[in-house]
């Protein structure tokens, strides 16, 4: 592990921050095309973040230090969770921390403070958003862990770099358990990132808000941090899905050519994922809140079926 490897790890972490608004912009662009509009430029989220950074911050009289510190905690926890996930290369030194359960724990920490921030100001909108978010995350957590267990049973490790390595080094096999785990993780990712059909990220009606409700009171750089954190979370789940299940293209050495291929591969894969996500968001409608448990139960069922197919179909005697 030389110094250049560490620098590369730092570059990867910064690359996450840099690419997240791009993914969000691409999503919006594709959705606009599907709706027969031209849509905002793909780089618009960068301009939005820059604008928010320079705006004045207004905090309610009733807000406490939890409110003002929560954006930093949420941003850092989400960024740290993402930064260790292999994006370009598999064998970076930070990959040793890239444990799936640690990732879930860091995202849980971010969500905890986000919900507290929603409760802090003492308005019903924040409380509503916080309570709904906790219900959705409560049901999404076992589904995600069940899908993770299915992967772990095959790859024998919870370290993401090991899982990706396992997939790269084994021959091309069609595993039913991976198929179910992928489906479950897609549903969980939709719920966790607050996309349609679970939550509408572009709504303006407070009674339909989940994530937006919790950050309703934020302004200026605090709002920029919260929005950026949400974009990083979407990128995190996207990278998780494409790099674990379709890891081909990721750099397995540190040669510049391999890294360039890795970057190109991930950009391509995320672009395709963005198209699928945009199509899904256009075709589906947001569900009523109390239909979200049925949605997440389906994810849990898929995870369970993945586990059962592993036990029944994929193991020898």
């Amino acid at each position: 592990m030389t110094a250049s490897h560490w620098i590369l790890a730092a570059v990867q972490a910064l690359l996450y921050l840099a690419l997240a608004p791009l993914l969000a912009g691409w999503l919006r662009k594709v959705k606009a095309w599907l709706q027969n509009r031209r849509g905002a430029p793909v780089l618009q989220p960068y301009r939005d973040l820059f604008k928010l950074m320079h705006k004045e911050v207004r905090v309610a009289h009733t807000a406490s230090p939890v409110f003002t510190s929560a954006p930093y905690i949420v941003f850092v926890a989400t960024w740290l969770a993402a930064a260790t996930l292999p994006l370009l290369a598999v064998d970076l030194p930070t990959a040793a921390i890239a444990d799936i359960i640690v990732l879930a724990g860091l995202l849980g920490l971010a969500r905890f403070f986000l919900a507290l921030a929603g409760m802090d100001v003492g308005t019903p909108f924040g409380g509503m958003g916080a309570s709904r978010e906790m219900m959705i995350s409560t049901l999404a957590e076992p589904a995600m862990l069940m899908a993770v267990f299915t992967l772990t049973m095959t790859a024998h490790s919870t370290n993401l770099a090991s899982v990706i390595d396992f997939q790269l080094t084994s021959d091309f096999t069609l595993r039913p358990s991976y198929l179910f785990a992928l489906a479950a993780l897609v549903l969980v990712a939709l719920a966790e990132c607050g996309r349609i059909p679970v939550d509408n990220p572009t709504t303006h009606l407070e009674l339909t808000m989940v994530h937006e409700g919790m950050i309703l009171e934020y302004s200026g750089r605090h709002l920029a941090l919260m929005e950026w954190a949400a974009q990083v979370k979407l990128l995190l789940f996207g990278v998780l899905l494409v790099n674990i299940f379709f890891p081909w293209g990721i750099a397995q050495s540190f040669a510049p050519a391999a890294l360039a291929t890795g970057l190109g591969a991930i950009v391509l894969k995320l672009g395709v994922l963005g198209i699928f996500l945009a199509v899904g968001e256009t075709v589906l409608a947001k569900m009523r809140l109390f239909r979200a448990p049925a949605f997440l139960n389906l994810a849990l069922l898929l995870g369970l079926l993945g586990l059962l197919s592993y036990v029944i179909l994929e193991v020898g005697a």
Partner: protein, 228 residues
């Protein structure tokens, strides 16, 4: 023999049988009648696909014909007949939700684990690959029975019965490389006749008790209860 050592086609067969199990869960829990019929059609198509793969990996040639028959019957004809029946009985928008979905799904998962445990002692080392699919088929049969127990609407009960038949067919195809063609044709005809008779019965039931909820078929009890 672990998964990675199997040829690609046989891995594909495993994927297909896992998807058959998934469709039987969908049949169990899906509330809307039309969607349930569609899920049954997909199950039939997947079973036909498994039959095709078995034929491709060196089974008898008549399996292709068998697959075509299953596809035509189970995936196209019978769902179309049920669809037409539903339209004539004014059931197109019918929703028949389970009142306690979570315990029913948990029971179905338990049935799958139980089916696996039952099939475990079947030895014959080289048959392990097919033994696993037999476990899936047994699960499909048991979940189909559970579906007939848990759901009260008559058309859904028929679907449960049909999915039991799907499971048995899957077991036969994967474990023994298919039944003789004559038996296949006989079974297919039986199923078709059963469907037609079911159709006739539904109209009779609805005329006498004015509903298709099988829980209402209680006139034959010892106690002198009058079902108005």
């Amino acid at each position: 023999m672990s998964l990675t050592e199997l040829p690609l086609l046989e891995q594909f067969m495993l994927v297909l049988s896992a998807l058959v199990l998934f469709t039987s869960f969908v049949l169990l829990a899906q509330a809307r009648l039309i969607s349930t019929i569609h899920a049954f059609a997909w199950q039939g198509a997947l079973v036909a696909a498994v039959t095709t793969v078995v034929a491709a990996t060196g089974g008898s040639g008549h399996l292709y014909f068998s697959a075509l028959l299953t596809l035509g019957l189970k995936a196209l004809l019978i769902p179309w007949m049920l669809h037409r029946l539903a339209r004539r009985l004014d059931l197109e928008r019918h929703v028949d939700a389970l009142d306690r979905p979570v315990p029913v799904i948990m029971a179905a998962v338990a049935l799958v684990i139980f089916a696996y445990w039952l099939v475990l002692p079947m030895v014959a080392e080289e048959m392990i690959f097919t033994r696993n699919i037999v476990a899936i088929s047994l699960s499909v049969v048991l979940v189909g029975l559970l579906m007939m127990v848990a759901r009260a609407q008559a058309v859904v009960q028929v679907l449960g019965f049909m999915s039991i038949e799907n499971g048995l067919f899957l077991a036969a195809v994967s474990a023994t490389g298919g039944m003789p063609l004559v038996v296949e044709l006989g079974v297919a005809f039986d199923v078709l006749v059963a469907m037609i008779l079911f159709g006739v019965f539904f109209f009779q039931i609805r005329e006498s008790i004015d509903s298709l909820d099988v829980d209402r078929l209680r006139r034959l009890t010892e106690t002198a209860e009058d079902d108005a």
